[in-house]
């Protein structure tokens, strides 16, 4: 074997030879040849999120309400930063050096190697200017975004607005990353999932001059963005605009529903604001202004203001009374200006006496309803007031009061409907009676209803006994369906026959002969039979609130409406004519009493004058 020992040198030499070849090659590759160094610093990956355009929003007749506009966010990646000319940079972007320094530090704190936003919503002009010079600023790149653009300044509460997502949401839903937009109220929020589309991502190779060289890994990691679904809302934009015009300088709300479908034709909350204020760079500033405005324009009164319903509530008590068979259409009560019982006195205004059921609605007699209410609660059919009150409460709630209607608004309130437990707590179980809670008869006391609930009730009456859950979106384009709960009939606990009687009363209230005591003559239209009920809610802090509910036409109703005007005095003074104008506008398109219209348009019922507001 040892004769071959010399071969070990050959093997050894072979090994050394290979090693040497490699070392030389490595030397050439690493030290001598600089192309690879450039190549390496060239090869930087960039993840660019593709933000899809949010779905558009249309009104029920196909008119565009909300669309999108391109905006650009300037992003920075600290790992790729190299020294650059800050003066020129500041000049192009119109920011100061301190901001640049601060923002870069902020980005570095967020992550040493991940990209983050450096400057939001750069204008297209700045963007164009910047793109030319972007090669001078490695580490910076632009991400295209879309911002909302509103066709006009109306329907802010219905449409909602879009803002940056906050940390809590990011924690719960991994779809969102810091800096993403999300709908914050209204349709933008309720239909966020379908309207936002789906983000996509493009992964690029970027060279040392900050130019995109091409897709990384042949685009294997790329994902297409999906455009958001368009939404067709139930709102009639012309009606909505008109309603907001009418409510200018007044505080209150209008809600109009189409009774046969539950579609919300108009939702006005006044004072309102221009939705365009809450987009773009000025957003934060404007938002703070709106938040601190004492008139609370951001507060959606249609859904969240809980008012006592006042006299409008009488129709419900009438229906309950009929259903419970404690009163009949011909039942009469006398009224001499007040209702007396033991040591209670409920005042009423002067009107003809006695009144039957229909007339009681026509003239809005408090006495009548104190009687009706007591009859309901003191009904011998029930063992105690607890049981009768329970039943009364059930009736009320079957109209959608005291609970969320489960609409597609995200911030509706339940309203307040008392239950026996409440009174048991306040007065003691055996210590209250129908007299104690008498104010409920005329819609005062421990009652709170939102304008939406009142409009819904009106729709239920118009339909003679059932309603559809009010909703503000008619259709979503594409594969999405609106929830089936919106097409289910919800029946009240009152037989439909009884509604006709009450409706007759509401007809009389509006269309009774002048001088017959009809409280709502100001809502009368020549060619359409409007049925309505006035209400005046007591306000211990100031002027009473003016309320009116109505639907028209009497047969085959097309619109059910509820109007609330704070500090408006009697229902017939402001709320009723406003409702009449809305109805006429919707059904006829033109107004027959332009002078009255002008009067209402010009009226200013806010506590403070224009000068004070500014």
């Amino acid at each position: 074997m040892d004769t071959f020992a010399v071969r070990r040198y050959i093997i050894g030499l072979l090994i050394v030879f290979v090693g040497l070849v490699y070392v030389i090659r490595l030397f050439l590759l690493q030290v001598v040849d600089s192309t690879y160094k450039l190549s390496a610093s060239n090869n930087v990956i960039r993840y660019v999120t593709q933000y899809p355009a949010r779905g558009l929003i249309y009104d029920r007749n196909g008119k565009l309400l909300v669309h999108n506009e391109a905006a650009y966010d300037l992003m920075v990646n600290p790992l790729q930063l190299k020294p650059f000319d800050t003066t020129e940079f500041c000049q192009i972007l119109d920011v100061d050096k301190a901001y640049v320094k601060e923002s870069i530090n902020r980005a570095k704190e967020y992550s040493g190697y991940k990209s983050s936003i450096f400057l939001k919503q750069v204008s297209s002009k700045t963007y164009a200017h910047l793109q030319e010079k972007l090669y001078k600023f490695p580490g910076f790149f632009v991400q295209a975004r879309t911002l909302r653009k509103y066709s006009s300044d109306i329907a802010a509460h219905v449409l909602g607005y879009v803002g940056e997502v906050n940390d809590k949401v990011i924690e719960h839903d991994p779809y969102y990353k810091s800096g993403d937009y999300i709908g914050i109220s209204g349709i933008e929020q309720s239909y966020e999932e379908s309207i936002r589309g789906k983000k996509g991502v493009n992964v690029f190779l970027v060279d040392v001059h900050n130019r995109i060289k091409g897709p990384y890994a042949e685009g294997k990691l790329d994902k297409e963005a999906e455009v958001g679904a368009n939404i067709i809302s139930t709102i009639d934009v012309d009606l909505q605009a008109y309603g907001e015009k009418l409510m200018k300088n007044k505080i209150g709300s209008i809600v109009a529903i189409e009774p046969s479908t539950g579609e919300v034709l108009s939702l006005v909350s006044s004072p309102a604001y221009d939705p365009g204020l809450l987009i773009g760079r000025k957003r934060t500033e404007n938002y703070v202004n709106l938040m601190t405005d004492t008139l609370k324009p951001l507060f959606n009164r249609a859904l969240m203001a809980q008012y006592p319903p006042g006299s409008t509530f009488k129709v419900i008590n009438a229906l309950i009374g009929l259903q419970e068979k404690v009163i009949f259409p011909a039942t009469r009560y006398d009224c001499n200006g007040a209702y007396y019982a033991r040591n209670i006195r409920v005042g009423c205004h002067l009107h003809k006496s006695p009144t039957d059921l229909r007339q009681s609605i026509q003239v809005s007699c408090n006495t009548y309803y104190c009687n009706v209410f007591r009859s309901i609660l003191d009904n011998k059919k029930y063992a105690s007031i607890h049981d009768s009150f329970d039943q009364w409460q059930k009736y009320i709630m079957s109209f959608g009061f005291g609970q969320k209607l489960n609409t597609d608004f995200t911030n509706e309130l339940k309203g307040i409907v008392p239950n026996k437990e409440l009174y048991n707590r306040i007065y003691g179980e055996r210590s209250w009676s129908s007299l104690t809670v008498l104010s409920l008869a005329i819609g005062q006391g421990e009652l709170g209803t939102t304008p939406l609930q009142m409009a819904n009730m009106t729709a239920a009456i118009a339909n003679r006994g059932y309603y559809y859950i009010p909703h503000v979106v008619k259709e979503i384009e594409g594969d999405y369906e609106i929830d089936s709960r919106f097409t289910e009939k919800r029946k009240t606990l009152i037989d439909s026959a009884y509604f006709e009687i009450v409706i007759d009363g509401m007809d009389l209230a509006v269309n009774g002969e002048p001088g017959s005591g009809s409280t709502a003559r100001s809502a009368h239209l020549e060619d359409i039979v409007v049925c309505g009920k006035t209400g005046t809610a007591e306000n211990p802090h100031g002027e009473d609130h003016s309320i009116f509910i109505a639907f028209a036409p009497k047969d085959d109703p097309k619109i059910a409406i509820a109007v609330y005007i704070e500090n408006g005095g009697y229902g017939s003074t402001w709320a009723a004519p406003t409702a009449r104008l809305m109805i006429e506008k919707y059904l006829n398109g033109t107004i027959s009493i332009p002078w009255w219209e002008q009067y209402i348009l010009d009226a200013n019922l806010m506590d403070i004058t224009d000068e004070e507001k500014d």
């Binding site: 071969r7 090994i15 290979v18 690493q30 190549s39 390496a40």
Partner: protein, 474 residues
């Protein structure tokens, strides 16, 4: 006790130190290659560096176990171990799982093991055992066959697993055989075939044939130092070519050039043979056989390349030979690897600062392409160090092998050197673009339990044998 002391004082600590150094450096670079800001702890077992720590600890344990075992165990059970490995290689084809298109792993829960890594050790042992057997001569047909079987059986099985890279490793045993006296002609033949293989892919067949003819003439002239004979031979060839050409032209048989040349060659060959017998010129026959052999080989290379190699393998070879450019496909990996290494400069970008590795440009960063991390983060100094470490280890192992009294130990030692050398050369060569992309790990550096344990076993069995070298007789 005497034996114990002997072992400890006789261990080649240089090799052990080199081993530990490489393992630790390997671990550091795996950390850098797989570094994830969110899992920075070195003990994070969901990350590869955490796992590698476990593998390293187990490997050290294995090294200890190796030393406890009696030295005769290895030679005694060499064939048995070999047989077991063959069995496992067969079984893995049926019961194994596929990883990266190669069915070469056994899976036990989350634990995976690759028998082909260990089969190399078994083959080295078996060859050592066979060649150290009394009365075995290497240059006999009997031993050729047996050695061929020992080497090609596991190679073939590994190839069937679709792990071509590991299959090719077995060819390196020729170095072992070379040291043990394999006739140089066979080795030369092998080398020539490789050269011809490469040429056959790069050059046109015609060129090769003409080249071969030219070569043969030169060799003939060289052997016989007789220009006259060479001249006559040349004349004969030219004449027969002209003849064939002329026949073709006149009768317009429309044969392709290849056929013409073959016919004229055949003709000439006939004449040569007759003349050779008549005038007793030696070696003509052998040379002619060689010529025709090369031509046949050339054609079969093409055939083999087109019909037996997978497209991706074809591509890889073509890319290395510069025949094909595939910047986004196969070439992409090598390109990225070269960029990563090349961008390291003299001193590298610094620990954890390698942009190529950070952004995952290089595939298989912690396994086959671990060298890139070293190149990028530690620069030329880093790569030089690694190459030097390997060279020192390999040369040291050779000198250890040479000082063995027992031929079993020596042969096994050369087996270790060859296997390590092959892995080292191919792996690093692949990352710098000198060798087609063959997926085999860099010993001690690449991530992986199977590979680390196999290499540890491979090395430490030899160190064990070396530690007891004074006690062994043969």
């Amino acid at each position: 006790m005497r034996r114990r002391i002997n072992i400890w004082s006789n261990i080649d600590w240089l090799s052990v130190v080199l081993y530990l150094l490489m393992v630790i450096l390997g671990w550091i670079n795996i950390y850098a290659a797989v570094y994830n800001e969110e899992h920075q702890s070195i003990f994070d077992f969901s990350m590869r560096y955490g796992k590698q720590m476990i593998w390293i600890s187990a490997a050290i344990l294995i090294a200890f176990l190796v030393f406890i075992v009696d030295i005769n165990f290895y030679s005694y059970f060499a064939y048995a171990i070999y047989g077991l490995m063959i069995l496992l290689l067969i079984l893995v084809l049926f019961f194994g799982v596929e990883v990266n298109a190669a069915r070469s792993w056994f899976q036990f829960g989350t634990f995976r093991i690759q028998p082909s890594e260990f089969a190399k050790i078994a083959t080295a042992l078996a060859i050592a055992r066979y060649l150290s057997t009394y009365n075995v001569q290497i240059n006999t047909f009997k031993s050729y066959w047996r050695l061929a079987f020992l080497i090609f059986a596991p190679a073939l099985l590994t190839f069937i697993q679709n792990d071509t890279g590991s299959a090719i490793v077995y060819f390196v045993f020729f170095l072992v055989l070379f040291r043990e006296g394999l006739s140089i002609e066979i080795l030369l033949l092998g080398v020539l075939m490789i050269i011809l293989f490469i040429l056959a892919l790069v050059l046109e067949k015609l060129t090769i044939i003409l080249l071969s003819i030219g070569m043969i003439f030169l060799v003939f002239a060289f052997i016989h130092r007789n220009l006259k004979n060479t001249g006559i031979a040349l004349l004969i060839l030219i004449l027969s070519s002209l003849l064939t050409f002329g026949v073709n032209h006149i009768f317009e048989t429309g044969l392709s050039y290849y056929y013409i040349i073959f016919i004229s060659l055949g003709f000439s060959a006939l004449v040569y043979t007759i003349l050779a017998i008549r005038y007793k010129i030696r070696n003509v026959f052998a040379l002619l056989i060689f010529l025709f052999g090369s031509i046949v080989f050339t054609f079969s290379v093409d055939y083999f390349f087109d019909n037996f190699l997978e497209p991706h393998q074809q591509k890889r070879i073509n890319v290395v030979l510069g025949l094909e450019s595939d910047p986004l496909g196969v070439e992409y990996n090598v390109n990225q690897s070269k960029i990563a290494i090349g961008s390291g400069g003299l001193t590298g970008k610094g620990f954890l600062k390698g942009t190529q590795t950070k952004y995952d440009f290089v595939p298989e960063q912690s396994t086959d392409f671990i060298f890139c991390t070293i190149g990028e983060e530690w620069g030329f100094l880093g790569t030089l160090t690694i190459v030097t470490l390997f060279l020192i280890l390999l040369l040291r192992l050779i000198s250890l092998a040479e000082r063995q009294r027992s031929s079993f130990s020596r042969i096994y030692g050369y087996g270790v050197v060859s296997i390590l050398f092959f892995h080292f050369a191919i792996n690093i060569g692949m990352t710098i673009g000198l060798v087609p992309v063959i997926g085999i790990p860099l010993p001690f550096f690449s991530y992986g339990g199977s590979s680390l344990w196999a290499f540890t076993l491979l090395l430490f069995i030899f160190l064990r044998l070396d530690a007891s070298r004074l006690e062994m007789l043969r």
